[in-house]
């Protein structure tokens, strides 16, 4: 009996392996080998549209493979081809590149290679770039150099970073504005909120990426997801498929960039913003605590795009990820923008 049970289990495993989910069947999947890193690229959605939205994920150290889990990007894939890829040391990237020269320039170079590869493989399609969070900063750095922006019909900056020191200050203001209310809230964890005040007193000028505490504080203030339960309902995670029938593995959870991100602390791509002249949609969650909406005002002000071709949209009841928190509004805004400028 025990032997039969084990054989049945063995058959179930093999059968399970034969069932392929959308993660293993949809779109094109290839790798870019650049400077020691092997970057996975997933082109998914409506390739026949001839319009490609190249995403640049956040972090540093997150993954582009998270975008297609959100409802907002699922909607976009119906209309356009969306390019998801993982940066070096991040997500499902592989290889063991040299760690002695981690610089923003290296990430910009990777972005450039991904764009070149997409243009080559798909016959120079209509391109838009969408950067989220750190990806907003990286895409600004890329677009604002060497006239890269001229390869694109438009830029979508989704709660994107731009200037580390400034953001750390804006984030501090955003957090400290809300802490008194939390301290007075009945049943709140007063010791925690007092700790937040004490921490900022001891660290009046935190670094942008190296100091992780402000990100925890922002999270505790729902600065990442406006309403976590609602976001989960809107974007159910297909755990079974992800674990048993997708490209994901445990290696996905290991980022090579978690220990030292000081190379990204003092980045300021404001000069690059002054070189970007293409149509731009700046899409921000009003309740974003990681890259507060005031950063959107700063980007709008410094972007060289003519006023008629740039717009800043702040979304109500939305934090750091509009594609998760408000997928319909995210989709509507992006489609309006792409249809106008494609």
């Amino acid at each position: 009996m025990k032997t039969h049970s084990l054989l049945l289990l063995l058959c179930a495993l093999i059968f399970g392996a034969c069932n392929k989910s959308e993660f293993l069947t949809e779109g094109d999947y290839f790798h870019l080998d650049h400077n020691g890193a092997k970057l996975p690229v997933w082109v998914k959605g409506n390739v026949d549209s001839g319009v490609f939205i190249i995403t640049v994920h956040g972090g540093p150290g997150d993954s582009g493979h998270e975008f297609p889990l959100s409802k907002g990007f699922k909607y976009l894939e119906e209309d356009y081809a969306v390019v998801y890829w993982d940066q070096r040391f991040s997500g499902l990237s592989q290889g063991d590149p040299d760690d002695s020269n981690i610089t923003p320039e290296l990430f910009i170079e990777d972005t450039e290679k991904v764009v070149e590869l997409i243009r080559h493989r798909y016959g120079d399609p209509t391109l838009f770039m969408l950067g989220h969070s750190w990806g907003g900063q990286l895409s600004a750095g890329y677009l604002g150099r060497d006239d890269h922006d001229q390869l694109f019909n438009g830029w979508i900056d989704l709660d994107g970073s731009i200037y580390g020191a400034l953001e750390a200050q804006i984030m501090k203001d955003w957090i400290l504005e809300q802490v008194p209310g939390k301290l007075n809230e009945e049943g709140s964890d007063k010791a925690f909120w007092q700790f937040v005040l004490d921490w900022y007193e001891a660290h009046p000028a935190p670094d942008n990426y190296t100091d992780q505490e402000p990100y925890f504080f922002a999270d505790a203030l729902d600065g990442y997801a406006y309403d976590w339960e609602r976001t989960q309902e809107l974007n159910p995670v297909p755990y079974h498929e992800l674990i048993f029938s997708s490209m994901f593995s445990l290696a996905y959870y290991v980022s090579g960039l978690t220990t030292d991100q000081s190379w990204a602390d003092d980045l300021n791509f404001t000069p690059e913003l002054a070189q970007i002249t293409i149509p731009s949609l700046l899409l921000w969650g009003k309740n974003d605590g990681a890259v507060p909406a005031a950063v959107g005002d700063y980007v709008y002000e410094h972007l060289a795009t003519p006023i008629a071709d740039k717009r800043l949209v702040k979304i109500d009841e939305c934090s750091h990820a509009p594609h998760y928190d408000q997928p319909e509004i995210f989709y509507q805004q992006v489609v309006e923008f792409v249809e106008q400028y494609q």
Partner: protein, 184 residues
């Protein structure tokens, strides 16, 4: 340094085995990277028996698996562990291992490189070989209950590391299900 210690430990165990009363087994198994991404393992095991109930197995595994849109893995690793048998033939075991893992990129559309001048060419699927330390647990049955002709059916979850990857060591989980039979 810890790898040097582990390697020394494995070699000393092997030497102990060679001079002891042992049985030699061959085995074959399904290897599932994150359970369902399929592969196979061939194994050769030298089992030193302390008593009817306890033994010290030394095992060499040669395996291959394919995780679509992630990587293929070819590995050769050696394990040393402890196995305990119940009167019913049920056994449980734990082992540590170390080996070499060669991974190949898996994406149906291939690998590309983009040159300085923007030219695109095909790239290599091969990553550099990595060190592969591991911890394996096991449950199984001795189907024969015969000391001179064991046939074992087993299930082994395995946690292994791939070092260096992404500047650090990334970890993987796999489940192996198979059987082994005594050669001598």
């Amino acid at each position: 340094m810890k790898y040097a210690y582990m390697t020394a430990l494995l070699f000393s165990c092997l030497l102990t085995h060679l001079s002891a009363q042992s049985n030699l087994k061959a085995g074959v198994a399904y290897f599932g990277h994150t359970l369902t991404h399929p592969g196979g393992v061939l194994e050769l095991e030298l089992e030193r028996e302390f008593s009817e109930r306890a033994s010290l197995p030394f095992r060499i595994d040669l395996g291959y698996y394919r995780h679509a849109r992630n990587h293929d893995g070819l590995f050769l690793d050696a394990h040393i562990g402890l196995r305990q048998y119940a009167r019913s033939g049920f056994f449980w075991e734990e082992s540590i291992g170390i080996g070499i893992l060669q991974t190949m990129l898996n994406g149906e559309d291939g690998v590309f490189e983009v040159g300085e001048d923007g030219t695109v060419r095909r790239g290599s699927v091969f990553n550099q070989p990595d060190l592969m330390p591991s911890v394996t647990l096991g449950l199984g049955w001795d189907l024969t209950h015969r000391q001179d002709r064991k046939t074992l059916l087993w299930l082994r979850p395995k946690l292994y590391w791939q070092y260096p990857q992404k500047l650090v060591s990334v970890y993987h989980v796999a489940v192996q299900a198979g059987f082994s039979w005594q050669l001598r």
